[in-house]
Symmetry: C2
Subunit: 419 residues, 2 copies
Amino acid sequence: MNTTTSSPFPKVVIIGAGFGGLKAAKSLAGKPVQVTLIDRNNYHLFQPLLYQVATSLVSTDAIAYPVRRILRGKPNLDFLLATVRSVDLAARTVHTFTGDVPYDALLLAVGGETNFFGLDSVAEHGFGLKTLDDANAIRNHLLKQFEQAITEPDPSIRQALLSFVIAGGGPTGVECAGAISELIRMSLLKDYPSIHQDEIKVILMEAADHLMGQMPANLGQFTVEKLTEKHVDIHLKAIVSRYDGFTVELKDGRRIPACTLIWAAGVRASHLLDSLHLEQDKMGRVKVTPNLNVADHPEVFLIGDAAALNDADGHPLPMVAPVAMQQADVAVRNILHQFAGQPLESFTYHDPGIMATIGRSQAVAVIGGRTFQGFIAWVLWLVVHIAQLIGFRNRLVVLTDWAWTYLFSEGSNRLIGPE
Amino acid sequence: MNTTTSSPFPKVVIIGAGFGGLKAAKSLAGKPVQVTLIDRNNYHLFQPLLYQVATSLVSTDAIAYPVRRILRGKPNLDFLLATVRSVDLAARTVHTFTGDVPYDALLLAVGGETNFFGLDSVAEHGFGLKTLDDANAIRNHLLKQFEQAITEPDPSIRQALLSFVIAGGGPTGVECAGAISELIRMSLLKDYPSIHQDEIKVILMEAADHLMGQMPANLGQFTVEKLTEKHVDIHLKAIVSRYDGFTVELKDGRRIPACTLIWAAGVRASHLLDSLHLEQDKMGRVKVTPNLNVADHPEVFLIGDAAALNDADGHPLPMVAPVAMQQADVAVRNILHQFAGQPLESFTYHDPGIMATIGRSQAVAVIGGRTFQGFIAWVLWLVVHIAQLIGFRNRLVVLTDWAWTYLFSEGSNRLIGPE
């Protein structure tokens, strides 16, 4: 099956409608290629705000947007809602559960998934935070803990129900811990007056001896201080070894009763890449040339979390959206160069910085080599995300709603719904 | 288990946080009773706009709101998230899957559910439209039909995928048919350029020979005209007898290929009432005295869709929100009268009218005995629903978002998500 209409142009198939894949598809609009963008979901997800869905702050459609609407009116761009089974590099064909899609050039922008580092018990009983399903599951779970706690007669079980562990002291873990603590203290304690605030434990665990490892040490220290003010307990050098849904076991033997474990401690490339039988790094990323394609299959390009490439200093590029989006531009140009018989460009990463909120009103940021912390960093965070959402959503009212909710309200999406 | 704190006041248990039950609970705030409101969901659902979630117009949290937030700061009101198994009238105890709840007075506000009139095949393969799960399932299903249609090589299957049957020519069916037709023509056809508008069939079936049976005949005729303008095919005297998911079979032998059947042809009282072994009418409603309680169990009150009561002319009261809300006031006063040893009041229904939209910009309404149709009726519909949503949501921004989306936008909640 081939969903593209017959076209004289070469066929480009893009797998993944995340930041990288979507940007690549949009860049190919009007170019002399016929593009099929494949994703297993019919929406693009604004992942940086996923923790806000998980903590009841905003509704799903504030951070997810239908791909077809984004591609509307661009005749050389097709979308196919399908789950990819495998890629036949020799036959230049993508096998999906909906049929086969042949390509002349393939762009793998399949993104990342939660990396449980082989801890099966954590994968089984803990929560990742990479998909909308993850976020909905966390939201439902958090609310159910409170519903169960108020009718639980056993004090030790009640304590476990009201203990929330987040593993991973990077931006995702920090934002998640801050938001959960605020959700509980600003909203849930008002809704459950029989629960006292001293019964609540929000614990952030980090394997290293500092938070926000990608940032200078003073920002990590600032993050610890602000999270502590927000009643988050920080456990450093805490390495999770096992979790059964009730007790978090650490490598040093400590055991922490908690019915909630959110795993924000690692990301790896999508397992889909394993089926390609190409050389991968330890994060599952496929090694690419500086041109972002595969040495033995120059018609196959990879970007973002799917691609293993080092920066100028020899360090692996981080698995973050700016890498994916910058690589999308180069990959698109190289695909067009390749069809035109022109030489390919090399990719160079321009690091725009990194930022993370610590609840509402506090943040840490590194932008253009300068560090920011506190309220000014939070304003920067807000400006950057509003700017990104405008480009993404293009619907001012929904954006206003999001901004209003985020700034002035406690949010209302505390619905225990489907997962 | 009893979730209420020990209280010197008599215990009132309300089952159901719909329009009636929620209003009753709020009315009992500060009164000399200890109230436990039980619902299987943690949210109140604004059912009149359910069809807007089903047709991707608004997001879930625009029409659902956490019950605990509504009851916040009212110390004599408790909420229990629980599914009721049965009621032991003799022991004055509600059995839930979360434990037992004793009562001194019981208010059954359990509402209605879709009435498939014994058509098991329709119940199995068709969609009701009474719950948030229903609405999400319909939204996902509608979008999946288009995704499947564009890759479907068999023209007859493609036709069935693009045929949408709504059974029931009352307000719910009319609103649903109009909204589906508008969703397809205003949005989906732009997203699926390979589908031609002539391939789309939206069919509204009604067993009687006219639409909007509760309204004067001229409004039913107006509804037919406006729906026809909106490309909805009206099949009158069409009685569904069977549905296998692919073909709607009618009693007169007609067979209409359609992969979608939405059943808006009937409502009955919740099956929970069957376990009470009290006298019920053919809609499953329990017969109540004019005081809204049960003759043999005067401490048991029923309101709304759960209660069978005739109006002054001897006609059964309709299963609509205004009945439930007016009865909530009388039931609450009678519960307090009963505890105080005072005589009970009789219920009299004051019909505020009935209204239905026919897509955006057209509606029909009967208010205070006067009939309205067209744009003026639609403005009335809008004013009434905005007024109700303000009381319900109390969040002006979200309301603005809803109104904006409804008035000026095509909505964006076209996400195929969890059901």
